[in-house]
Symmetry: D2
Subunit: 411 residues, 4 copies
């Protein structure tokens, strides 16, 4: 029987085993676009700081699907009827939610494309897949875009407490070895319930939620926004910028074909819609294009691109300073003056004295709160339910400004 043949179990070091729940989902996983996620690292260049963190978007997507399946089961145990078709749609929605990611996930999100979020591409690709698979993704797309009549599915895919976050926190903590980032995924999922078609958390789960919020905070400062990782990703961003600039100036520059296209053109979302070549090339693009191209560039005669390439390959990245306030022009000028003293050319300075800002916004993007279901059945915001005034604080957006410059100078 075909269906049985395709029912597979995948070993996952985080959960032990992940079941592929249906033939359809098996076919989606086998699709080249999904297989491409094997070559896209989950945490950009964080592996430069945490050498175990080489996990990819492929296993994250499978893990999130696994948690979705667990959540469905937990909700059913509480007496909620969820049709099989809805469950499968929710699993497909979370499985594909990151399929639009490009090389190094977030790191190059604003460098390779022009104003295109990876979610936009995920949606576009889901729609294309929906065509290829005769409409089976229709409901999954509704869930993804929050247009399905029952909103809790979307909340499990994308909200303050979605299966995406639960998986990546636990997975990133596993692969980095930052064990104190552990969250009680199992306990949290067992505490979920549905009231008025909205996801709520049982009151006794409140400490697990607080712990989840703190763990998230720990992870972004300790891992996601770690100084060296930010500096390494800034090297990457400047590299792509320089490559694009050289291209614009007509300087000859080898690169893999897919990367070449995106360096030559400023591709916008509408381009993807209008011309299939963009998606064809985008789905051919992964981490290996960057490293392969950078290895060409490291011997390039342009000193900027060769220097940055070697910095990346040899993990010899910028020095970086963090600050709670933006760096002043004076501070920036001081760095530039020192660089000029060291022999840097004026036109090179923008690549070697770089400012930027990181924030936990990527990790706290939703204004909707987490709702707690009291024992009397009433539903309140977690900030009210907790006896702790820090839930708000844990969810607030923090910004850190940074200034990068070569190690050769010291401030």
């Amino acid at each position: 029987m075909i269906q049985t043949r395709k029912k597979k179990i995948i070993n996952d070091p985080v959960y032990g085993f992940v079941n592929i729940p249906s033939e359809l989902i098996y076919d989606l996983i086998q699709h080249p676009w999904f297989q491409r996620l094997r070559r896209i690292s989950q945490l950009g260049l964080s592996s430069m700081v945490y050498p175990g963190a080489n996990h990819n978007r492929f296993s994250h997507a499978l893990g999130a699907m696994h948690l979705m399946s667990t959540a469905m089961e937990a909700l059913r145990t509480k007496g909620h009827k969820i049709p099989k078709e809805d469950r499968e749609a929710a699993m497909m929605a979370i499985l594909l939610h990151d399929i639009g990611h490009g090389p190094f996930s977030h790191a190059l999100e604003h460098s390779i494309l022009h104003g295109v979020h990876h979610e936009d591409l995920s949606l576009l690709m889901m729609e294309k897949l929906n065509e290829q698979f005769d409409g089976v993704l229709k409901k999954a797309i509704k869930i993804f875009t929050n247009t399905y009549k029952v909103p809790f599915f979307h909340q499990l895919v994308s909200s303050q407490l979605d299966m995406d976050r639960l998986d990546y926190l636990q997975r990133d903590c596993f692969f980095t070895g930052v064990i104190e980032g552990s969250i009680g995924t199992d306990r949290i999922i067992r505490m979920l319930d549905i009231v008025d078609n909205q996801i709520v958390v049982e009151e006794k789960g409140i400490y697990s939620i607080e712990n989840f919020l703190t763990a998230r905070r720990l992870m972004y400062w300790q891992v996601y926004l770690h100084k060296t990782a930010v500096a390494a990703e800034e090297v990457l961003v400047q590299l792509i910028r320089r490559a694009r600039d050289l291209q614009d100036q007509g300087v000859s520059l080898m690169a893999t074909p897919a990367l070449s296209l995106f360096l030559r053109e400023q591709v916008r979302l509408k381009d993807f819609v209008n011309d299939d070549q963009y998606l064809d090339n985008y789905t051919a693009l992964d981490d290996s294009d960057i490293f392969a191209s950078v290895k060409w560039w490291r011997n390039h005669e342009d000193r900027v691109i060769s220097t940055l390439s070697n910095m990346l390959l040899n993990r010899d990245v910028y020095k970086i300073k963090f600050s709670d306030t933006p760096f002043t022009q004076q501070e920036i000028d001081q760095v530039k003056t020192l660089l000029v003293e060291k022999g840097y050319q004026e036109e090179e300075l923008p690549y070697f004295c770089v400012t930027g800002v990181v924030s936990n916004a990527a990790y706290v993007p939703y204004s909707e709160s987490i709702n707690i279901k009291r024992k009397d059945g009433s539903v309140v915001d977690i900030a009210q339910a907790s006896d702790l005034p820090n839930v708000e604080a844990l969810s607030k957006i923090v910004k850190k400004y940074y200034l990068c410059y070569p190690k050769i100078i010291s401030l």
Copy 2:
């Protein structure tokens, strides 16, 4: 060589292996008073809720000593010279810090003795051991009592961030299976430093500390002050109270010899000092005395003690209600009325309608703050160093009032 023979390694599931660092410490561990800790459960009756949590004070004491050894090593790596003798003293101080605990650790602390804290007995026993071991514990006692000239040792034994807490949080989280209580013990210890003879934490450790504080909070509501555990321990407290009352009334009551003594008399700290029989009996007392005696009592003709005994043995404990404010006389009277309706006698009511209060005070007992060492070398309170206004909140003392009554009635 004798010393080598006594250098032992002990398997510990939390840390893998624990080294016994010296012959002297080996001899302390072999002492009957220390071996008694094998028969005293670390978490009182929490194993009634978390069946894996049968770990004892013995392995906690070894674990805390192991962390102390790790901390000494970490501080030495940072260039602090710590004489061997001081290191050994600090290890002995933490090894023995809980040696005065009685049956079920905290659960019976105020029932068996009269106004004697376990720390008082730990000190008394350390002093007796010091005599037996020809004064080798002199410095350890100074460290324990915070009278040693170098204060950081005491801080490692007993403060907001001591090796005691680090071990019990990690250990309790391991044995209960509440994995989200995981703390980064290793990372925290590597972040410790000394400034002006005081323990400080390097600035980059701040998120680990926040996580430690949240994990602690999670653990006390999820584990230490879990409703069923509190109810079970209240059964135990009422049992001992009833046994003492019956004893006072001249009712014959079997019990193990050591327990009998402490039921007959209201033993105070000065009694221990003045008459050796008290310490002799106290050091013969452990969890088994309670269970063995309770099994006698379960067939006793006194209905109160037999009922409570069966409740304990069969894990059929009180119902319990928690509240942020004290229960009113009216609420209490309502329970009593219902009990009388069920056939309870007036004089039985105090054992079956019980109020009390729990608080996290046992886990947040110190007013001293955790000090952070900034990169510029300055030292500030963590509440100032953190960009999060919740550190205070995490450290505040919370009280919960409770009301216990038999399952037979429902409110």
Copy 3:
């Protein structure tokens, strides 16, 4: 709804969470006989060597039930229809398979009773429970006694590869910290299948089985038959023997009531059947009776019992020598001579110069082999299926002879 109220989840550090699958099973767990297992340590006195190993028969029984539930689910996924009633019966059979264990599990199995195996008592107690619960255990008893028409249920309860072994190996490895004893419980269970109503293992699971057999072997020499644990349990056995002898001689000896009964009389299986007082007392007996009684004995005027009692309490047990062949009379006499030189009396010698034999037979008791299902559907013995001639070897019974004597003498 009552049923929902009783559907509980229990935290288990080995598996995370264990579901109580039905109201009936919940009621069995609540029964005083089952609750007693909380006070019976799983590994006898192994905690004297592995201080984390304080886990009890209660959590082992729950864990084995959890694995049974997982196995049922795995078999159903492969298309085997298993009626709900059968599944529940299998879970009850494994839940109660160890309910007849006495204090310290195996350690005193032949000391407290006379020729009664704990399985006999488990069966007796299941039959009594069946009466109390109106016949609901009928099928579970058939499964336990291998008289149910479908044999694979019994194989999952008791065979070379049953859920009992899978749980205790994994659990003991967790609590001792001997991590290399890890077995792939999850993988093994997913490899199970049914052919002709017999349990078989899919061919690709063969390496997991080999690993399981080696892990088992490692665990019994490293843990179950560890020298110090054997020596400690021999102290316990001699203690009970001496207590019984003193009793016989009319020497007054305090003990808890349940223990007293079994010291006074040589209770056989038929006594349990004929007179309820034996079961009443047996179900009141647990580890605490031993420790409480031993604490009385340690000050007894009989030097043998007081010495042995202190040895046990202070973990100051016999020296022990292992040998592949029985000790000669000459070797034994040599020890006795040395003891006499040290002032031991002739009549004391049998308690202080003790020989015995341990074997892995308790862990390899079944002659039936593990059957492997080849890809072509044929079923063969694992010894044939494996390309390794060691499967037989791994399953053979090994004996080690030992000689115990006080530390005061050296050979």
Copy 4:
């Protein structure tokens, strides 16, 4: 102080933290050749089966160095004096032992170069580094080549029980999630001792060694020689072969510069010695060159290379059959006939009907045995010391023949 600045700690999910023990070792780690190992996956294409297994040679090398440091410490605790210089040399030898690995570690070892083992290149690169670092690697090279006067260092680097194996087994088991492959690294290392300058294992460690041997066996059949992984790596091997063949035929074929060189020429060890360009290019080669080139090839007009490229990228690899004996010409011809029926050209057949042989020889390459130190001080081979006749069996070399063909045909 510079030295302190370079004393770094690296987070490793397997061991928690790895210390960089000296400034010199820090500088070696920072060298571009060592940083290249970040881009070489430890397990070739095993991640196609175990999606978590994306770990690289970089973290393996650090891990092995960490274990070497632990082993040195364990041996010193037993009273062996090991000069600091020797310890550092041993750590450098193990750190660099794999530096010569090419893309996908073992997978392409015989495709990219011609008769050059990665150890040869490791040695060559160590010698070059020795020149760059003014001779500091002299002793490390002696240890690596087993020409150092004290042989036990080499045994820790390369033998049946070396730090290389201990790390990779534990690491691969962690990242694949095959937890039953766990070995007691810590325990084994603590059991090591030195007799006559040779590494021996204390007798009581014998069960840990048996477990290690079984775990190794499990891992190679379950992971290293997993069918799908073998099939995937065979696709890769055929891809490189086809690319080389096309190159030879003068067909134009894009590839990254480093890969192009090794496709164009049959590079031998002497070429590396005689002409620096080969090493320059080899040290620029990593996994990304393969993927980047394969993405060019997937649209190539040559059907063989485009088909194989898509098979690799989309994880749509050969079917594979294993057999204990070589496949007969008849069996092979049958496949070829079926392929021709499906439209394959005669000249394409060698790329789509592929036979080969795998063996555990890579994992059991050494004839030297593991020596056990008996309690009486005598040293014997483990096969004699164990009461189990399977140690030989566990160490024997097993071969499996395989036949690969496209999924389109079924036998």
